[in-house]
Amino acid sequence: MIDLLTIFVLAVFVGFEVVSKVSTILHTPLMSGANAIHGVILVGAILITGSAESTLELVLGLLAVFLATVNVVGGFVVTDRMLEMFKR
């Protein structure tokens, strides 16, 4: 448990450090990029569905997999479309 807490605290510092250097021009892509990254819940959704025993778990898990996938692919594609315009 303390290991997980350590990781959490360190990630807080890394997050603040990295994000505070983001150029203000790119705040919208930052938000949508961060959005795509929290789609990583897809990993959790896959793990939980892959070991689901009951129908309830399976249904909840699959719904989560679907929603998380929308989050991931949508997030990265939208971000890419925006950043493409800044690249020159």
Binding site: T28, I37, V40, I48, G50, F66, L67, V70
Partner: protein
């Protein structure tokens, strides 16, 4: 071991993706790296973590791709904020569902894991319903003004208190029914929380909900003892928090004031029917003013985007530059519908990002600017924010365009801006008003400048 290593690779990719955003040049590669990290993580989870239901999972992923990609490809740049809100909402919902499923799979875990579970369910639900309401507001499927329900505040407090109570109860006594109830209360809380947030403040709500989803994902990382989810969720939580703070600063208001002190639109009629003179000019007047200036600053606002006039303004600016006029764009942090939205809209119109200047770049030299052109913006140039402590937007940093040598104000009508506050700048003798649709006016202006 390999699994942990792969998750570590993915975590590093996510950090690099965010780090890439510190320069517009490399940002796109950063995003590729982030997507690559995501692919690594998902394949690892699928290969090592899936005992059964593999086919079902693939079908669900395929459906998600079929829905997500076309939606992301077809969205207009003006509609990006609501799209981000929607993607954010589904992410929050996914986190809540994962925690629910895990609870039914392993109901008798220890105290801390249960706490993480109930928090994931609560925050995920709030984030989902809140995001859906922001989507509806920005898409203008419902009113953009603050919605003040009768006894809305009491309802919100009741929902808040009962969600805390349910969290405590479910952590103490694991019970499936209570957890479902918590999810429902969370959904209600999200709606009640976003309804009173009005128009211009909605972006702050999006940014905050983004941070919430990040936290929900991090908490679900505890539930599943998965380091990748903790790291990625925390990164998002941090970025959402920073952005929310920056936005609140840019509006010169505290976060609590934005979320709970709905503008209530009481200040609109302060000046009543009192007739005050404004100076309105013709397209030709303004063309001469601009064509023979040395130094011009354009301050665009969301009105520019609504009129789809990004390209028209860029053409006008190029024409002016051909005449030797030096032109910069003054971009206020809250211009547009989310932080940095105006930069995206202008980038879409091929405006080089070097021309996009911030408050601190523009204001110190504003007195030597010959013409400041305000297009579709209002509150961000309202001197009341600087000079009148009684103004509801007092304290918001503004472009001091009233200190430029002259001002051209392109406006559709005399209606006040989003905040419903009268703008003294309109009555300033230095100001020339150009009424009409922004795109229309800019096109005519371009033709007139070419004639000079």
């Amino acid at each position: 071991m390999t699994v942990q290593l792969m998750y570590l690779v993915a975590s590093v990719c996510f950090i690099l993706a965010l780090k890439g955003l510190s320069s517009p040049k490399y940002a796109r590669y950063g995003n590729f790296i982030g997507a690559f990290g995501m692919l690594v993580a998902v394949i690892t989870a699928y290969v090592h973590g899936v005992v059964h239901n593999g086919l079902w999972i693939l079908i669900a992923v395929a459906l998600g791709v079929v829905v997500g990609i076309p939606a992301a490809r077809s969205v207009k740049m003006t509609a990006i904020p609501q799209m981000v809100a929607l993607f954010n909402g589904v992410g929050g919902a996914a986190a809540a569902l994962v925690a629910l499923a895990e609870f039914f799979a392993v109901p008798d875990t220890d105290f801390l894991f249960r706490l993480a579970t109930v928090l994931t369910v609560l925050i995920g639900s709030v984030s989902f319903s809140g995001s859906v309401v922001t989507f509806l507001k920005l898409q203008e499927l419902m009113t953009t003004r603050p919605v003040l329900l009768p006894a809305g505040q009491q309802l919100a407090i009741a929902a808040g208190v009962s969600s805390v109570a349910l969290c405590a109860l479910t952590t103490a006594v694991p019970n499936g029914f209570l957890l479902w109830l918590l999810a429902v209360v969370g959904l209600a809380l999200g709606v009640l929380f976003v309804l009173p947030v009005g128009g211009a403040d909605v972006p702050i709500a999006i940014s905050l909900l983004n941070a919430f989803t990040g936290l929900a994902v991090a908490a679900s990382g505890y539930v599943l003892a998965n380091t990748l989810l903790i790291v990625a969720g925390t990164l998002v939580g941090a970025s959402g928090t920073i952005l929310t703070r920056l936005m609140a600063q840019a509006m010169g208001r505290s976060l609590t004031n934005i979320l709970f002190g709905a503008f209530k639109a009481t200040t609109v009629a302060v000046h009543g029917e009192e007739q005050r003179t404004v100076k309105s000019g013709t397209v030709e007047d303004v063309a001469i003013l601009l064509g023979y200036a040395n130094n011009v600053v354009v301050v665009p606002g969301y009105g520019l985007a609504v009129a789809q006039a990004q390209h028209a303004v860029r053409e006008l600016v190029s024409q002016l530059e051909r005449r030797g006029v030096s032109v910069a764009y003054g971009i206020h942090p809250v211009a547009g519908r989310m932080p940095g939205h105006m930069n995206v809209l202008l980038a879409e119109a091929d405006v080089p990002y070097e021309q996009l200047k911030e408050l601190d770049d523009v204001n110190p030299g504003i007195t030597s600017v010959d013409v400041a052109v305000v297009v579709g913006a209002n509150d961000v140039v309202n001197p009341g924010a600087r000079d009148e402590p009684s103004s509801p937007i007092y304290g918001m940093p503004i472009f001091d365009v009233d200190r430029a040598k002259s001002v051209v104000f392109m406006k559709r009508s005399m209606r006040p801006g989003f905040a419903g506050v009268d703008n003294e700048l309109l009555y300033n003798p230095k100001t020339t008003l150009l009424f009409g649709d922004a795109k229309d006016s800019l096109t005519k202006l371009l033709a007139a400048v070419k004639q000079l």
